[in-house]
Amino acid sequence: MRHDSSASRQRHHESSGFQSKKAGSVTIAPAFLHGMTIFLAGLAAVGYLLVEADDDHSHFWMFANIVIQIGGMVGAGWYCRRVAKRLNSVPAVTPVLLVVMLFSYVWEGFERLFGENGHPFELLVMCSMKNVILALAAVGCWPRYQKMAAVSSLFIILFTLTMKPSIAVQIIVAIYVLVGVSWLSFSHWEALRARLLETQQAKRSYWRTGIAAVLIVGLLASVGMTDNQVTSALKGFMPSSGGTQHYDPFARGGVGDGDALVAATENIQSFAPIEEAPFRSSDQPSLYDVFDDTYEEPIVPKKTERAISLPMQVSKEVCKRIAKSKQANRQFSTLRQKNPKRKGHLKDLDSQAIFYVAGRVPLHLRMQVYDLYDGDQWYAEDLADPRRMQVREIKGKPWLEFVDRSKTYDIFSKPETHALKIANLDSNRIPAPPQAIGYHIDKLDRLDFIEQVQPDVIAMRRDKVPEMLPIHVISRRIDHDRIESKIDILGRLGGQSRYRVLPTISEMKQIKKLAQTWTKDDKHDWSKVETIVNRLRSEYTLDPNVIVSDPTQSPVAEFLLRTKRGPDYQFATAAAMMLRSIGMSSRVVSGFYARPDRYETRSRHTPVLTEDVHFWTEAYLGAGTWTTIEPTPGYEILKPPPTLLDRTIELAGFTLVWMQDHFVALLGVLFLAVMVYWSRFAIADAWWTWRWQAQEKSPLRSHVLATFDLVERRFRWCGIERPQGCTPGRWINSLPLSFEDRDQLRRLCQLVDWAAFSNTEQDLPSDFTKDRVENCCHEITTKWTLKEIRARFTPPAHQYSTDWHHRLWAFIQPSRQPTIEGKA
């Protein structure tokens, strides 16, 4: 009994629902596509029912409706598929659809007349459309109706999401999108399936693939495996926010949705240093003062400080807006206030940091500037010549800015903004990065609220900077790489003499000599600075616990000349003294250091804690410009924003370093990958054999087909593929096998023919019984293992080229495309 294999395959495909069928001249869509359409329509119907129920109906009502509607659709779909096989043309479905569409309106009329119950117009229209979609999905065995059902269901989903964006609906939409995309793709593939050709021969460029694989592994290694800056910069293109009753610790935006201190307007529980937050009454001294005449118990402030008076409309607008929200979104309820989890979490967060920095770090934030040093103590600098400030409006926001000095050197990068979100700063000074140009505090448009207390240090005219206040600062970075070429007049012009004053200590000569020794080979002033800083950073050790042991000694001298170990202020002092000793103007600055290792990738903020108080040095470049120098090891200066090239080089460097650090693990993974690749056919064989064994109890017909499928797979993994359109019997005949082997496999082919074309065991080939069939299958799968097939067929000489990489691959993968030259 011989049959054409293509017919056999077609039958197999049809039985599994993976092939379009033709009844007469009408194409019937495959069952799985029809099923997907029914699923899409069912999702749309469930979504609609959720909107219609609107939490008013019971679960039973929902369940009953879902069961009736979807059950009806599935039943009708099953019936239509059965009918479609007998019909020679597409039946007249349109009148039925028309009736289904009108039914909703007619039923609505009855409901309003007799049941005194009804639906709003939009729900009625959507209900009608939903019913039509269910009917279309039921008749989706005919492709044109199927497409209409799938497309129309999208609009129902759209309606559902618009009306009720609850979690359940969002899950439905997500599933709908996944299934819809799959349906699109499968529909397209189904149209191609009948015309697909098999590759006859393929030449692959393995060396290029190999290079690409290595590059991808490198990129993954650098980007995806650690929580570094590169990773975090690539994350979060989309805000996962909403502020609607849903807590997500990984959210990047929205109030109450995450741990981030970010802007939103809906939930007062997450009140944080954000400008858009609504105003609330507090007993703390606020920066803002609003007249409130609501009938509530007034909150008496414990202390009164200078504040910005805001018009009454502000508080009215807040109330009005909330009222509006209440109408539009029924979710605005007191429920939020009952969520103790969020409250507690935010409180904990507030208690840790002095303030947060949003923007690039590391960042030095100036608080106090010192100019005179007497050998023991630094003295804070007085403000001799305050710079002029002005208020300028940029995009509707008031900015307090220094009147820009004339540019003397082209050493500045583009201005960049940092946002400081004050939490617990017990000072009225505003921490500011070096080269700050302007400040912005919401609604603060008057200069008399701030004052300059020291050069380049401004403070609010209050006891302390109010909590929860966001402050935006624009500053510029100095590109140190450009200084050497632009400036060779470091501190010699314009620098005031007090920045060059040296303390009268006995060791000063030694310090001066040391500085000269270090800088004797440097021609330019900036290179001298760099040398001193580098020597300090490399030869001295940061140790915050070291204190001066001998009070008779100058601490700086002891640090520089003897201990070579000390806290950061010793480094700063030493650097300043050494610079002054070679005639350069310098000063010491204290403030905060926003550490990059504290950067929180989830909130995208860097908290500054009390232990981040830091001292550093500034060198005078002339023309009123001070540049930060960092002599303390472990602390870095924020460089100008990197260009694309810089980022690329940094990424490459990071990748290399990471690979170097994880060399052994990487090698292990690579080895594992190669081993898995090497033995991929063995792994696949184990899996398919296990599957075959699991199906051993299945019906005889399936068992025979599964056996042949397994054997054919094994041959294919050894590179011997059954040509398209070749029957199993003919294929086995074409293989160079011994008489016994061929006879055994041909018996399996006979069974395959039986399994493909007959359902009853009475039709089994004459010398077969059920037990014999099972034995035959077992013997064949046991005998024709992957190893056995490989052993019988010699590997080929590579047919494409004699290039080394081809030969290498032929060696690596001996089972690839062997010639059929059996030993038998």
Binding site: A92, T94, L158, M163, P165, R195, R204
Partner: protein, 425 residues
């Protein structure tokens, strides 16, 4: 009429069909060309994007998530094929340069993928298939990244002509069939598809027998070739032809009869004038005529007849040489599908062969128009009028040597028609 008859299933079905016809009737077919582009799902997707964006703006911002998803799907469906097709180079090669309608020929498609990623769902339709329906063409499952793949498929052209008909193009609309991007396929060869033919076993009895030195016939006694029989001596017979052994045995002079030199020569005049043919979806008299002429030519050629075929102003002589036969069939293959513009003069038989056995292939429309100068030619008439079982028009009937109905033309029946005409001639 009883109520049961009013609601009988047949009546309901009939009524439903009528309503269905009305609801699906194309009332303004002229507008189709303006609105058919909307059938592409990308426009529905764009419509849903716009609607969802409006809903997002005015009703609920949560819908923006769906908008973004739809935008991503639209962009993916548009740019994936656009980018994929730009990394593809295709070349088509034929194993042979000639074939016949319906006969398959292996065509090799070589595809090079320059992208590092695989490309799925390439489709080749244009250039090889007259009507690009969804069932025509071939599709390629996957082209691996940085690879060159070869595909061979058995191409069975359905119409005669020179292939590729147009510049062949591969296209892809993977993954969602939202947008289709295509690229020209390099094809340096031509495949000439001859018309479909059938074997005719008869030669017209009235066809002329020319003397030939290398062709002999058994049907006529002559002086050359093989001996075909014996007979009694007649005065005038050459003594060289006396069969002496038979003479001795029978006691009277017996002579041998040999083959006579003979060769069939047929002249065919083919009316391919556009105005004489009816070409529509139900009937194509030109194709029927070309298939008939090709069958006649091939059969006569196989029977060693000398064929002259006049197509338009060109006359093709086809003797023993295969080259001349190929040239004639190539010409038949290349006749435009819509016929050619001819003048009255081009349909006139050439004067040099007016005495030959001439068959004029034409249509009843040409005869009725009176534009044909047939002379002594016998006419093979293709009837383009619906007969409905009635006789043909009198003039066509009277003058036709063989009549064929273009409407229900079948090549399988040609041999039968031809045999009858040959014997009747």
């Amino acid at each position: 009429m009883s109520p049961s008859k009013l609601v009988s299933p047949r009546r309901i079905h009939s009524a439903a069909s009528n309503v269905d016809d009305v609801l699906n009737h194309d009332f303004c077919p002229w507008a189709n060309k303006y609105v058919y582009w909307m059938k592409n799902p990308i426009w529905l997707l764009l419509a849903s994007i716009i609607v969802s964006a409006i809903c997002g703006f005015y009703l609920n911002t949560a819908v923006f998530g769906l908008t973004a998803t739809l935008v991503v799907i639209a962009l993916l469906g548009t740019f994936w094929p656009y980018v994929s097709i730009r990394g593809i180079d295709c070349r088509v090669e034929f194993d042979k340069s000639r074939t016949k309608v319906g006969q398959s020929i292996p065509v090799k498609l070589i595809v090079t993928n320059r992208w590092p990623w695989p490309i799925w769902g390439l489709n080749l339709q244009q250039g090889f298939f007259v009507e690009n329906t969804s069932e025509d063409g071939v599709a390629l499952r996957v082209i691996s990244g940085w690879s060159q793949s070869e595909f061979i498929w058995d191409y069975a052209p359905t119409t005669r002509g020179v292939y590729p008909i147009d510049v062949p193009r591969v296209d892809t609309s993977f993954p969602f069939d939202l947008s289709r991007s295509s690229k020209a396929v390099v094809c340096d060869q031509q495949l000439i598809v001859w018309p479909k033919t059938t074997q005719l076993r008869t030669i017209p009895d009235a066809s002329e027998s020319n003397h030939s030195e290398d062709r002999f016939t058994d049907k006529r006694a002559g002086d050359f070739g093989e001996m075909i029989g014996t007979r009694t001596f007649r005065p005038g017979d050459s003594l060289r032809r006396v069969h002496w052994s038979q003479t001795a045995r029978q006691g009277q002079l017996i002579v041998c009869e040999h083959q006579a030199p003979a060769m069939t020569a047929v002249r065919l005049i083919v009316d391919v004038s556009r105005k004489h043919h009816v070409i529509n979806s139900n009937m194509n008299s030109l194709e029927s005529m070309i298939e008939t002429v090709a069958s006649v030519c091939q059969s006569l050629h196989l029977q060693h007849a000398y064929v002259e075929c006049q197509i338009g102003t060109q006359t093709y002589r086809c003797g023993e040489s295969e080259a001349s036969f190929r040239k004639l069939m190539d010409t038949l293959a290349k006749i435009p599908h819509s016929g050619v513009e001819t003048t009255e003069a081009t349909m006139r038989p050439a004067s040099s062969s007016r005495e030959a056995f001439t068959l004029l292939f034409t249509t009843d429309q040409a005869i009725d128009s009176g534009e044909l100068a047939t002379g002594s030619a016998r006419m093979v008439v293709f009837n383009t009028q619906p007969t409905n079982g009635q006789a043909l028009s009198s003039e066509s009937t009277v003058r036709a040597w063989m009549t064929l109905n273009a409407a229900d033309y079948s090549l399988d029946q040609l041999d039968d028609h031809w045999r009858r005409a040959c014997h009747a001639a």
